[in-house]
Point group: C2
Chain length 317, copies 2
């Protein structure tokens, strides 16, 4: 099997409406597109690894607002959100499939959207290997990520006695969206955290190698995703809200409940070298609680006092 | 690594709006859901095979019409269309990711949609391993298929001297849509071909083992997809329209240009045992032309006379 058969080369596209647009996207993506254009993409999965795959859809006015951020920022953010699911499994990206359904009126903005998608793909060191383009009444971006891991980290492996950690500084994205909803411009720091999240891919592999027992990204908000992890693992999670590193001007409770965040929540032995993590990745790793025996739910405290957590975002509720 | 870590077991979901709906879908799918509920799905790819992956979006009123067919038929058809891309590569399915973006008003029909999806997954002998559910202004169904093949069949491998073959009987789906557009009820045979396509997965593997050199599914219509194959392979394709097996009451030219078809077009040595194929799979395999030296395009003839082919459907044209 040659490299060409393994999908290194893109297939030449026929002329015509949608193919001209796909060609324009390919031009935008340049060397970040690889092996696309056949009925399906072909990829080698490294031996002794597990394939890890996830799909995310982002819908106009549900997952992003075009009056808040640019098309380039939308493309970057949606792609990074999908890559974050690979990070949550401690997987290496193998490639991405990008499905775009767009109204004709949106076509002039597709170039900028593609630039943002391409930037996220480049930062993750991966490639676009296929996708789909369709007309639609509203903009829907579907991103499928494919990766591999020698030992994927699930959300059901937390063990009593583990410590709970979170990466990064929380609350910026939700503070930004609160400001936008109120008709204000958010602080630059909050806006930046909203439009420029980073999928914690390298960080996750480092954490997996050091014994992370369960991991999840906190796209629904730390407390909501902690509840998923507690339920899946069948353990109680004690989260000390006053330990959570919050963005400037954000209360710890808001940082803990706000979504649109692509940091990692994990359980691991209490011996993880958080200083080494911070100096290696330029991002804090903070111990925020512990895994305990008890009902499979989250107990949130401030100053040792139990508080009632607020739920994160949920569709159709 | 245990079976559980490999994703045999579904993760327990937390309560709440979208999770209640996902649970309802899981109930509908029963044992056809496997290993879902984590940040990403985990799958073993057999050694010495290539991972094959494709994503397809189907948009309400673009890819299907809810006044023409039922929600169950929509689910079945969209899922089979995606599986057909695996067939076109001669790949074995490993699993599927289902992304549904739906208006709240559509929620009562989700059960029927799920039944149709599940039926297509069952016929293909595969599983739903993950997905995404989102609210949206219109119904968009994104289906990602994952498969593996010892030797995927691309669309760029056609060689001068090969024969051209097509599976099945063509033209039913496009005749059905023409009838619907004209406000008529289509013949039962045409409607049936539209709502009950079959992904030619077993057929494709049989053909790959017998030397298929290039293959494509003809979802854009035989002539449009033949043009893709000609262009990718850099060869001329001679298609004898009068050799095409057409559905009852459908002219050969219409069968050759009509889309919404999930049969396979392939190039292979002229020695393929078409009778054996037909008796094994209950579907005809018909020799309809040849691969020739010349410009990378399709030459269509009827009774030896060249005719101008009509293009298939194209988005944004």
């Amino acid at each position: 099997v040659t490299d060409i058969q393994k999908g290194e080369r893109n297939i030449e596209l026929a002329p015509g409406g949608e193919f001209d647009i796909i060609r324009r996207l390919f031009d935008r993506w340049g060397p970040r597109v690889r092996g696309a254009g056949d009925d399906a993409a072909m990829l080698d999965v490294p031996p002794n690894t597990t394939l890890v795959a996830s799909t995310d859809s982002a819908v106009d006015r549900i997952h992003f607002r075009r009056d808040w951020i640019t098309a380039e920022e939308i493309g970057y953010r949606v792609t990074t959100a999908a890559l974050s699911d690979l990070a949550a499994m401690a997987a290496d990206p193998l490639g991405m499939l990008i499905a775009i359904a767009a109204p004709s009126a949106y076509l002039p903005e597709l170039d900028a959207l593609a630039v943002g998608i391409g930037r996220a793909v480049e930062i993750a060191g991966t490639h676009i290997v296929g996708g789909d383009l369709s007309s639609a009444g509203e903009l829907v971006i579907g991103v499928t990520v494919l990766g591999s891991a020698p030992r994927p980290i699930r959300r059901d492996g937390a063990r009593v006695g583990d410590a709970l950690y979170v990466t990064g500084t929380l609350g910026g994205p939700s503070a930004a969206t609160r400001a936008w909803y109120a008709g204000d411009e958010p602080r630059a720091e909050w806006r930046d955290r909203y439009v420029r999240p980073v999928a914690r891919l390298r960080e996750a592999r480092w954490l997996a190698e050091r014994g992370a027992s369960a991991m999840i990204d906190i796209s629904d908000g730390l407390l909501a995703d902690a509840a998923h992890l507690a339920r899946a693992s069948g353990v109680a999670l004690h989260v000390r809200l006053d330990a959570i590193p919050a963005a400037g001007g954000v209360r710890a409770e808001d940082a803990a409940s706000g979504g649109d965040e692509y940091e990692l929540l994990l359980s691991a032995p209490a011996t993880i070298a958080t200083d080494e993590f911070a100096s290696r990745f330029g991002v804090p790793l903070t111990r925020i609680g512990s895994v305990e025996r008890g009902p499979a739910e989250v107990m949130a405290t401030i100053g040792g006092e139990r508080v009632a957590p607020r739920p994160g975002f949920s569709h159709f509720s």
